[in-house]
């Protein structure tokens, strides 16, 4: 059975200084977000607009998608529809075969991670070069990204230096980020110039115009899209927004929420292929229409993939993205992934204390922590809770519904703790691993009240 969040997190935390570093680094990103949000007096209003525009879009999605396709096709873009990750991969593979494509560059697309595109193509003898710096680093290391915006946030510069020394022959032990970035620039520049195909993601797709927007700081999406003769943009169908003017709301929210910048360096608006180029968009479902039908969870589809929820989550900061064993980790992942595979991801909604901070930082007001709670109910109802847990809960329910039994159990429990502490203070008691048990008092509050408090029938 694949390892679950709790075990993976425990391994992560075993290196405590590194956990502290990871936690502080991500808290720093959260504080940059706070500072940027404070800079706009209308911040909370902006979130409300973002939320409502997305709510509206989801309620009219089929019409908007038709409008989008019509406008995109009229502009010379080829549109493909993929029911799932497999179909998405095949569509891209077909285009590659048709054009006899050899050299492929890809900018960040969490959708392609979700569909396992790189693996699929590699299996078919086709290499893809990830061009986002963080993604290239993890690609060299044969690891998945651990964060949807900062893929290599779990790595220290020493780790990057070692990786680049191995793959790019940079100076051993030179950890200077400037030096390492320059090495990546030179290495990837050739890849861009020689590329046959550029694959990008889509941050926002505009129904009104049939175009789409790709946001980067590095310029890697553009370096690929404007050099390669073929450009394929991959999108989940929920990336749609109604009109170009709505970009103002989402672009104002996105970078501030993600990294604390007012905007990414490049916000590129694609409407037509350049002369001589072929442009494709692959629109993917992969469980999204099913999620759309889940009343309690449908508004998780509002997500604009900013990762603010990751950065604010005290659990994510201390367990790292790999503990979530999915393409999209963190709080949003925990409400999206059970829809994709409930059995494999049954642990994720429980990897949370339900503190609620995620819902508060979400730029489109997804009620993440409430959905985490609701997923827990669904997962238990569908039978994915451990039997031992179910039995314990049934026992608890029985005792707690019955006042006399509750009082008896409480008295017995306290008695055991007092007289036979070793029965409780041992390795079998998970609480006791790193915490002392509470002191058992000689009487309960009710006992005291019966003797000392006034009471009326």
């Amino acid at each position: 059975m694949a390892a679950k969040h709790a075990e993976l997190a425990e391994k992560f935390i075993a290196d405590e200084p590194r956990t502290d570093w990871h936690d502080e680094t991500l808290w720093f990103v959260r504080s940059k977000r706070d500072k940027a949000a404070h800079g706009l007096p209308e911040w909370e209003q902006l979130r409300e607009w973002g939320s409502q525009i997305k709510n509206h879009t989801l309620s009219n999605l089929s019409n908007y998608l038709k409008e989008f396709e019509e406008n995109a096709i009229a502009n010379g873009i080829k549109i493909h529809w993929a029911a799932d990750g497999d179909e998405h991969n095949k569509i891209i593979h077909d285009i590659i075969r048709k054009h006899n494509i050899k050299k492929i560059v890809k900018s960040k697309s969490m959708l392609t991670e979700e569909c396992h595109l790189n693996e699929y193509l590699q299996h078919n003898g086709i290499e893809v070069v990830d061009t986002d710096l963080g993604e290239r680093i993890v690609q060299f290391r044969k690891e998945p990204p651990s964060h949807i915006v900062l893929p290599a946030i779990h790595l220290k510069k020493e780790d990057v230096s070692a990786t680049f020394h191995e793959h790019l022959q940079t100076e051993k032990g030179n950890n200077d980020p400037q030096y390492l970035t320059e090495a990546a620039r030179q290495h990837l520049r050739n890849k861009f110039v020689e590329s046959d195909l550029a694959i990008t993601g889509v941050n926002f797709a505009i129904a009104e115009t049939g175009g789409f927007v790709v946001c980067t700081n590095e310029g890697n999406a553009d370096m690929g899209a404007h050099t390669a003769p073929v450009h394929i943009a991959c999108m989940g169908f929920e990336k749609l927004i109604p009109k170009a003017e709505h970009l103002s709301v989402f672009l104002r929210l996105l970078a501030r929420s993600a990294t604390g910048q007012p905007i990414t360096t490049y916000s590129s608006h694609f409407h037509r292929p350049r002369p001589g180029q072929e442009m494709h968009i692959v629109i993917v479902d992969n469980g999204r229409s099913r999620q759309l039908g889940r009343e309690d969870f449908r508004n998780s589809l509002k997500c604009i993939r900013c990762a603010a929820c990751f950065n604010t989550c005290p659990v994510y900061r201390r367990s790292g993205g790999h503990s979530y064993h999915t393409a999209v980790a963190g709080p949003i992942g925990s409400i999206l992934n059970p829809n994709l595979d409930m059995k494999a991801n049954a642990d994720l909604p429980f990897a949370s204390t339900l503190c609620g901070s995620c819902s508060n930082v979400c730029p489109v007001k997804i009620n993440i922590h409430e959905q985490l709670w609701k997923w827990r109910q669904v997962i238990s109802e569908e039978g994915y809770a451990a039997t031992s847990k179910k039995v314990a809960m049934e026992g608890m329910s029985f005792v707690l519904s019955n006042p006399k039994l509750y009082r008896f159990a409480g008295k017995m429990g306290r008695g055991v703790m007092k007289l036979f502490p070793f029965m409780v203070n041992n390795k079998l008691n998970v609480w006791f691993k790193q915490r002392e048990m509470p002191e058992p008092p000689k009487e309960s509050f009710r006992d005291w009240y019966l003797k000392n408090g006034k009471f009326k029938k």
Binding site: T25, L40, E42, L46, W49, Q52, I53, N55, L58, S59, N60, L61, S62, K66, E69, N75, A82, T131, G134, I137, K156, K157, V160, L180, T181, A184, R185, L188, R189, V193, G211, N217, E218, D222, A225, H226, T227, A244, E245, L247, S248, V249, L251, R252, P262, I263, T265, Y266, S267, S268, H269, H271, P273, R274, D285, S289, R290, L292, E295, R298
Partner: protein
């Protein structure tokens, strides 16, 4: 049934009852006393260099000197000198050596230091990204407070491509250390003409 039909049917079945769009009230968004000052403040905070100029004479001189020195430079601004229209058909490997590009933008946005550039202002889409150093020129009267105002003026879908560019390329992917100069331009100078 095709994948498209299946997907659209599933969506039509599962989407909720229609919810209206919100009204965006421009009066409630931030405004700045001095749009140029804010534009400069933000842009310089993200690695750009901003200068207010009264005329284009100095830039014309710089362009002339660049051309005379034989450095590979592209000019897309008619008012600065001859426009290098031929680059529209240059390949990526030919453009790879591009040292500097002079590009005119349509508007600037004070809240984030971004400049909107249409494809026709770039000549070739690759130009503002592949050059080592970017020189942008906008008019001071065309600086607007926020993106809301920007989208009222620009037409996002008017041309095949357009972009907001805010400063030089950058990354913080290595331990959150900010490095200016990733894959796009290493430096960006923005001239605001009064």
């Amino acid at each position: 049934m095709s994948a498209k039909e299946n997907i659209l049917n599933a969506i039509a079945q599962n989407q909720p009852e229609l919810i209206p769009l919100p009204a965006i009230d421009l009066d409630s968004v931030i405004d700045y006393e001095d749009l140029y000052a804010q534009f400069k403040l933000v842009l310089e905070g993200i690695g750009g260099k901003v200068e207010l100029i009264s005329g284009l004479a100095e830039l014309q001189e710089e362009l002339k000197a660049d051309k005379e020195s034989g450095s590979f430079v592209v000019n897309a601004i008619g008012a600065l000198g001859d426009v290098d229209n031929h680059v529209v058909s240059l390949s990526a490997s030919e453009l790879e050596k591009l040292e500097k590009a002079y590009v005119e933008g349509t508007i600037g946005v004070a809240e984030n230091g971004a400049v909107w550039i249409y494809e026709s202002q770039m000549i070739n889409r690759l130009v503002p990204f592949i050059c080592q150093h970017l020189v942008l020129v906008i008019e001071k009267k065309n600086i607007v407070p926020t993106l809301h105002h920007a989208y009222e003026i620009i037409e996002a879908g008017r041309e095949g491509f357009g972009a907001f560019i805010a400063g030089p390329s950058k990354t913080a992917d290595i331990e959150q250390s900010l490095v200016i100069g990733a894959h796009g331009a290493r430096s960006a100078r923005i001239y605001v003409v009064e």
